[in-house]
Amino acid sequence: MRPRVLGLGNELLGDDAVGIEAARRIQQELTDQVDVAETGVYGLALLDVILGCRQLIIIDAIKTGRVPVGSVIELDPRCFDRVPAPSPHYSGLPEMRALAETLQLDYPEWVVVLAVEISDGVGFGEPMHPAVVKAIDQVVRRVRQQLTRWRRQESWGSAAVDSSALNETLTIPPKTNPNDLRRRTQNGRV
């Protein structure tokens, strides 16, 4: 089963298109190695593009306000709040994972999120920020790295790989209180 790359975002909304644009680049450059999907919808529709693969790389836009625009941040979705979205309008990956686990759906074993820090330019038809456009090169490189890592894992066995050693990591400085995340996750397992 081939790894899957999923681009998330809205291609009409300036920098919000970065996930979609990156996925399209990967479709061109790595079509022999991965399956590529893209979507701009919420909620359970995410399951349609998440389930049914073992290894998934999600490319998305993010706005932390603490790193330069165009920075590529790798996130482990297991670090995020599991649920309480009160509406399908807000259900994202953490909730889909929880739902898939609860219902024993075919959720991927490995999920990596590559998030590109974006600017305020998310209005209709706005061009992407040059730094965000440039970040797509880095995203493609990171996807290649991740695919290599997974191939090694498969040939060596997962216990032999220290993923952080292979990774270009970027740590985001805490905003005000480093316990923000911990507090937010009090209702669910981290």
């Binding site: 998330l8 975002g9 809205n10 291609e11 009409l12 909304l13 919000d16 979507t39 701009g40 919808v41 919420y42 359970l44 529709a45 995410l46 349609d48 998305d60 836009a61 993010i62 932390t64 996130l75 482990d76 979705p77 297991r78 670090c79 995020f80 709040d81 649920v83 309480p84 979205a85 009160p86 509406s87 399908p88 309008h89 807000y90 259900s91 994202g92 990956l93 953490p94 739902l99 609860t102 219902l103 759906l105 999120v113 998030a115 974006i118 998310v122 209005g123 209709f124 038809g125 993923s163 740590t171 985001i172 805490p174 905003k175 005000t176 923000d180 995340l181 911990r182 937010r184 669910g188």
Partner: protein, 488 residues
């Protein structure tokens, strides 16, 4: 993986996302509270100069929740723009596809939105008041059934519309492809399944009401009541319809005050602007804007399931009609003013959509190859109206003689509900804040007030945050920020 801690601000194209402002008076009581609702920033300018026939594809990308509603409203606006009537088969297939979409959307929202209140219970711990808590209470088999039903419907939408999410389907004068005759049996089977699913959901809800009579008190609580006008689409017999028909408005006593073709909306719906908000508040032009108050003197109206059930005289299908009668009986007759009844109304609409899907699925005409009337008129102006899951949706385009957009105006359902949402948030805040005392519990109270409307806050899918961001800002009488409570 090393431990890293982030606070994620959800990326959004809108300003004031999930933001509630509360203004206090000199006594520290609430003068006014309101929820910021997004604008479609830059959409009109974006649309200008684009071919009108691209609008069904463009507008379906506006919303990550209901792309099909925008697609259909846009296709109907193109019919009107090119003064062309699609063949009967095309209209039926459009309505069939739309019914499938409504079933899927309503099922999802019923279990997500009503589940925490009705299945888990309004007083249950917040950690359990979500879809997982619902599954814990009703059993995993039901969750699997919802997922399975949804997949079957999605596959069918792909079959009919080419793509389920951003369809290339609606064209001026019809649709892009006919249904292959051999597919009809699968559509019938899925429709039968959908009706059974609807009946099952109704029974689940009915059983809950029997087991927990206090739920009815909760729904009818005065805290969530506003006596406003209601608008919804009806057919020629004033039965509820999602796809086509005039818009009907009833007053707070349930009497009809307007019945008009959607393309005359400008004669009936006006927009009020307040200096403290960029939201344009829809109201009834002929009643007038009297401020954020309810009652027959105020032109504030509501759309969406509860409003549609108030605006219609009855349901067009038998099981939905029976459920409708039970709903009205339990809630004391029409019109229903209890905002929290919206979830119940959504369930009745789900059953209607499934029954309507079954009617259309069994219609021999849906496999007719005659699905397009080629337009020949010179385009000038077109208006398309549809009932989106969250209420009446209006697309209005003007073009030059080549069909390039010169002006595009969209009135989305949340905008039509926006003034009533302010009433709800305001009422909740007034009940929760006295003498300047504000505590964190206000987040939950206010969220309950507007959650039933399921207002649309943003339109782009993202992996995170998996939780609704909410920020409450409290200002004193001099408009100084004195307290900020946030989540997400």
């Amino acid at each position: 993986m090393s431990t890293r801690r982030y606070t994620i601000d959800p990326i959004t194209r809108l300003e004031g996302h999930g933001k509630i402002d509360i203004l206090l008076n000199e006594q520290g009581n609430v003068d006014r509270a309101y929820l910021q609702i997004p604008e479609l920033r830059g959409f009109e300018r974006f649309a200008q100069g684009r071919p009108a026939e691209d609008m069904p594809q463009i507008t379906s990308r506006i919303c990550g929740v209901c792309p099909t509603a925008h697609h259909m409203a846009s296709a109907k606006a193109l019919d009107d723009l090119y003064k062309v009537t699609p063949p009967s088969a095309a209209l039926k297939v459009r309505e069939l596809a739309y019914s499938i979409f409504m079933i899927e959307d309503h099922a999802l929202h019923f279990y997500y939105l009503a589940g925490p209140d009705f299945v888990v219970g309004p007083t249950a711990p917040k950690a359990e008041r979500n879809i997982l808590g619902v599954l814990g209470a009703v059993g995993l088999e039901i969750g699997k059934e919802v997922i399975g039903m949804r997949k079957q419907l999605r596959d069918l939408m792909t079959l009919i519309m080419g793509k389920a999410i951003h369809p290339v389907f609606g064209l001026p004068g019809g649709i892009s492809k006919a249904i292959a005759p051999e597919s009809q049996k699968d559509i019938v089977a899925a429709a039968d399944h959908a009706v059974e699913f609807g009946k099952f959901s109704l029974k689940l809800f009915g059983d809950l009401l029997k087991q927990k009579p206090e739920l009815l008190e909760y729904v009818t609580s005065e805290s969530y009541v506003h006596r406003t006008y209601y608008m919804g689409m009806v057919d020629s017999q004033n039965k509820l319809n999602f796809y086509d028909g005039p818009l009907r408005v009833v007053d707070p006593n349930g009497s009809q005050v307007a019945l008009f073709p959607g393309k005359e909306y400008l004669n009936h719906i006006a927009e009020h602007v307040e200096p403290w908000s960029y939201v344009r508040f829809s109201y009834l032009k002929n009643i007038g804007w009297k401020g954020f108050v309810d009652g027959p003197e105020s032109g504030i109206m509501a759309v969406a399931p509860m409003a549609r059930l108030n605006a219609a005289d009855s349901m067009a299908t038998p099981i939905a009609q029976q459920a409708y009668e039970q709903y009205l009986h339990a809630l004391g007759g029409k019109p229903v003013h209890c905002t929290l009844a919206t979830s119940w109304a959504r369930l009745i609409e789900l059953v209607y959509a499934a029954e309507r899907m079954r009617e259309l699925a069994n219609d021999p005409e849906i496999v007719s190859p005659d699905v397009r009337t080629i337009p020949t008129a010179t385009p000038v102006e077109g208006i398309g109206v549809i009932e989106a899951p969250r209420g009446t949706l209006i697309h209005h385009y003007q073009t030059d003689e080549k069909g390039l957009i010169t002006k595009a105006n969209l009135i989305v359902a949340t905008q039509n509900n926006s003034a009533r949402i302010v009433l709800s948030v305001d009422k909740a805040a007034k009940g929760a804040i006295k003498g300047g005392h504000v505590d964190d519990g206000i987040l939950n109270l206010i969220e309950m007030a507007f959650r039933a409307y399921d207002p649309c806050h943003g339109c782009a899918a993202h992996a995170l945050p998996g939780q609704m961001p909410l920020r409450v800002c409290v200002f004193d009488a001099q408009h100084n920020l004195i307290r900020e409570i946030s989540r997400g």
